[in-house]
Amino acid sequence: MMFARGLKRKSAEEPEDVEGCSAGAQAMPSYSLQRQSLLDMSLVKLQLCHMLVEPNLCRSVLIANTVRQIQEEMTRDGTWRAVAPQAAGRAPLDRLVATDILCRSVREQEGECPAPDMGDGQPDLVPGLAVAPAAQAPRSPQSSLWEGDSSRESRGGFQKSLDQIFETLESKTSGSVEELFADVDSSYYDLDAVLTGMVGSTSSGPGSGLQAFASAATSPPSSSCRSDLGELDHAVEILVET
């Protein structure tokens, strides 16, 4: 499923947070922007899997671990910050980078960022996403909404959401999934609403697949895209528990 492709929002010209690279339309987004997009994509994946048949536990665990890795790294950077509800109208959307930009091959960029070359001559697609060796980061004293203090109960809403997802995976009460999302606007979970605005996701001819990724930049965002993003924004708010 290429549902994440409906997250197209940020126009390529916006030069937000491009560190030292040229801000041309084809520029490689900054590492932090890429990382944030990967985080958002992962959260959407974790949420959507609850709507299907019993979720694939292995897949959920791997995605959750990816999210934790990003969270840990952002905590070490000090970039793990809160999303205030009023500002949420813009902030989460600003973070969402068009997926084609996120996944764009380094060779296509016209910016001046040199891409680190892999040994075999194949530049990594998102070279900036290499993770520094892991080290437990001390919590920032200016605790954001996400972090809270170190005690488990008051850990940020994000961690709680991850935990809740795993609890529902094993919970035997039939109402558990509904409880998790009880206060969410139910229209978000209308699969049709979420999946509209997606560009040809299941073409199976040769030349589909990755080629579709590369060509996604050319298709204009549709109006239904925007309504999806409003609902996604809502879901992000829920996860933040603001």
Partner: protein
Amino acid sequence: MRGFWNKVFNLEVVCCPCLLKADIISTVEFNHSGELLATGDKGGRVVIFQQEQENKIQSHSRGEYNVYSTFQSHEPEFDYLKSLEIEEKINKIRWLPQKNAAQFLLSTNDKTIKLWKISERDKRPEGYNLKEEDGRYRDPTTVTTLRVPVFRPMDLMVEASPRRIFANAHTYHINSISINSDYETYLSADDLRINLWHLEITDRSFNIVDIKPANMEELTEVITAAEFHPNSCNTFVYSSSKGTIRLCDMRASALCDRHSKLFEEPEDPSNRSFFSEIISSISDVKFSHSGRYMMTRDYLSVKIWDLNMENRPVETYQVHEYLRSKLCSLYENDCIFDKFECCWNGSDSVVMTGSYNNFFRMFDRNTKRDITLEASRENNKPRTVLKPRKVCASGKRKKDEISVDSLDFNKKILHTAWHPKENIIAVATTNNLYIFQDKVN
């Protein structure tokens, strides 16, 4: 066997490729003699093919495989506690070695394992004394003589009947079953637990591995595959989503939570990314026939491990390294979670696994040569020799090469099987089963 690999791998298409059209194939397995080939599909059906006996006159090829038996193994169920459907998709089939005229196999979906008996009937009794031919009882007063029924030949009928149903032992989805070399017990593994069963006993199983954390919040690793050692009936391995393999000895304790050996390769720091863990997740583990090695499949490679060396594999083969730069896209479309299987040939000299675009790969462990072949109807008529394929990773694409961006990621070969004795392979695309054999001159 030596002639097979001296040249380019001459693989000849034997069967018509449109054998199975209905449903998505989810597992493929030869029996111990190789005469039978079982497939399971998403609809819960099992289809068994039988190799026809060699035609002595036309000895230029081995027998072809024809449909032998078809039966519905599992039906969809509903879990009322969780309000979720239990899929009927067959996750694995494993054959028991043949002990008498009948064949036995285990088939499993996410929750329930079944032992099936497949038996032939090619004669029937005729000439009953008390019954007419159609079964109605004769009027006793008309019976004046004694005659005994005689068995007469009839058209072959193959019957499948469920002999045991092993249910209600798995909270999570079963990913593996493996029959012990004692042929009396078998294991079944789900995401978090492994159970040991006796083939005769359905109301009880022993839990031998449990990695479920007390707090599900702390869950970071799941079991992805498990298999018994082919010769040591006390030894089994299980692989995890973090790229580790644990070898356990059931003699050590009842609950094998402490491994005897832990196989793990240290990570290459230059390749580190947010996707490192996902691509290290092991999708399949298979012992060699000899029992000395085991093979694991992760997203990009196949690794051969010597059971005596835990800190790194002895051989590593890249299946489709050109995908390493595309991991973000493959994460987005979920292809990065595809679970490819792998298999050994009968002599453990060649290993095989699938890839995308209906490609599959073989690696010769002795010559270190490898080949990419394609299973597709357009390119293959029966008796044609498969042409090797090549993917162009970067730079100028040569003639006949396929560029990475042209690969069809919806066409994936997840399941392959190799005949235990001969160079015959079964390759499953999404909807079709292909059977190839090497060219016999």
